[in-house]
Amino acid sequence: MADEATRRAVSQIPLLKTHAGPRDRALWPQRLKEEYQALIRFVEQNKAADNDWFRLESNADGTRWTGTCWFIHELLRYEFRLEFDLPVTYPDTAPEVAVPELDGKTAKMYRGGKICLTEHFAPLWARNAPRFGLAHLMALGLGPWLAVEIPDLISKGLVVHKERPREAAAE
């Protein structure tokens, strides 16, 4: 179950057509192109809605992804590095997105800074595999996670804005 805003964002992301994982030499390049197409569309839509919040890029074979995501809280921008490897079982199983610099700061994380998704994510992904891609993972996995965790971490003083560390810590 997702909230209305997430649902609207997700419904605008184009679905993917090629059922192929990184071990499928013949079809993976096509799937990877579709991943980029969907990601580009999603970022463009976010920009148009004045809600640009992540960038993602991969190595040449598309198996390792790195990028940044950011969250605006009380007019301040908090930015985090994100990374993940595609499992050989992708796209039947979703990758585990990690935000390493938050490792150890929240209980909603597994070791290595892998974010802990809600119990709704796995069924949603399984029902929509293989048509969901990384853009959907961002929208349904990382986006909602940041929206819940970051304000909480800021309020606890565990995440401090880079330009005003002292002020924020003193609050």
């Binding site: 997430t6 184009p14 980029y36 197409q37 580009i40 499992p87 209980a107 994380m109």
Partner: protein
Amino acid sequence: MATVEELKLRVRELENELIKCKQKQCAVEDAHSQALNRPKIDKMSAEVVDSNPYSRLMALKRMGIVDDYEKIRTFTVAVVGVGGVGSVTAEMLTRCGIGKLLLFDYDKVELANMNRLFFQPHQAGLSKVEAAEHTLRNINPDVLFETHNYNITTMENFTHFMDRISHGGLEEGKPVDLILSCVDNFEARMAINTACNELGQIWMESGVSENAVSGHIQLIIPGETACFACAPPLVVAANIDEKTLKREGVCAASLPTTMGVVAGLLVQNVLKYLLKFGTVSYYLGYNAMQDFFPSMAMKANPQCNDRHCRRQQEEYKKKEAEQPKVEVVQEEEEVVHEDNEWGIELVSEVTDEELKAASGVVPDLPEGITVAYTIPTEDTTGGDTVEETEQSLEDLMAQMRKL
């Protein structure tokens, strides 16, 4: 006052010192344990003397429970995931005198793991496979160990993993006899499933629920019994009201008891399977809240998503047809796969009603076992799909970077 940079440097210095201390301590311990260690034993003896570590195991033979206990030394078992369940599993197999153990895990021992069995605080920081091998070798030097400190789900490691399970047997070049999945996540289970379906490798799955009060073990014979992709993940119902279960602020709970029970059930099934005694369970659940142990057998799904599972099913059918008919005694309730009459699909659901509407039919399962979720039939209507494009992958990558 020290600057952040200075403090960082100091932390690094202290970390290095700590590593040196740990290495020194390990060396001392090694020397110490070498002195204490018993020599290797060539042949298991049934003689009941204080110095024979196998006498009570060999008694199983005398009592007529097991025909040939020594055979345990000819088997190779791979344990994937050396955490709460896997480490205890490996210890039990080591004490039982298994021939060879392959251990796979990418994680390190952490103090947060100390609510579980096996690992000790002084091992914090070491890789789990390295720490485990050290302890296990001390317990039983007769066992051969092979350890791999990596995540099996990534491309490169997966290829290596496939190679080791197909060639890492006691006699190098032969496949392992059994793989035990003791991992804690869906991707790793699916990766093991993929490998085993491709190789026709028999394996056992194990798991403990995130609320720590239920678990299961499952024997998977590719082509014959349901593989991990044949049905949505099975869960043992712990009869907890979902509304009272609080998930805020935590990922997963764990109990040494539940993990110990599941490891015990798993290794018991391994021993029965390898040494051919008793009844081997196909699926055995453990509900810790009610102390209920549901069991069942589940046939492979002809519509399984994994094409290697379907291929193995064809091969199994052929083999069955060639064999002379033997009367099969049906011991447990078999689960029949619905003819994929799962319901309709929505991209996401907001309300409980929508969630229900998006769910498929729950397969016919015995009391106490259910599916984590259901999968609707393939829906071609869906939403918009990506358009055909003239752009190359490099163009798209560049476009993404420019955004």
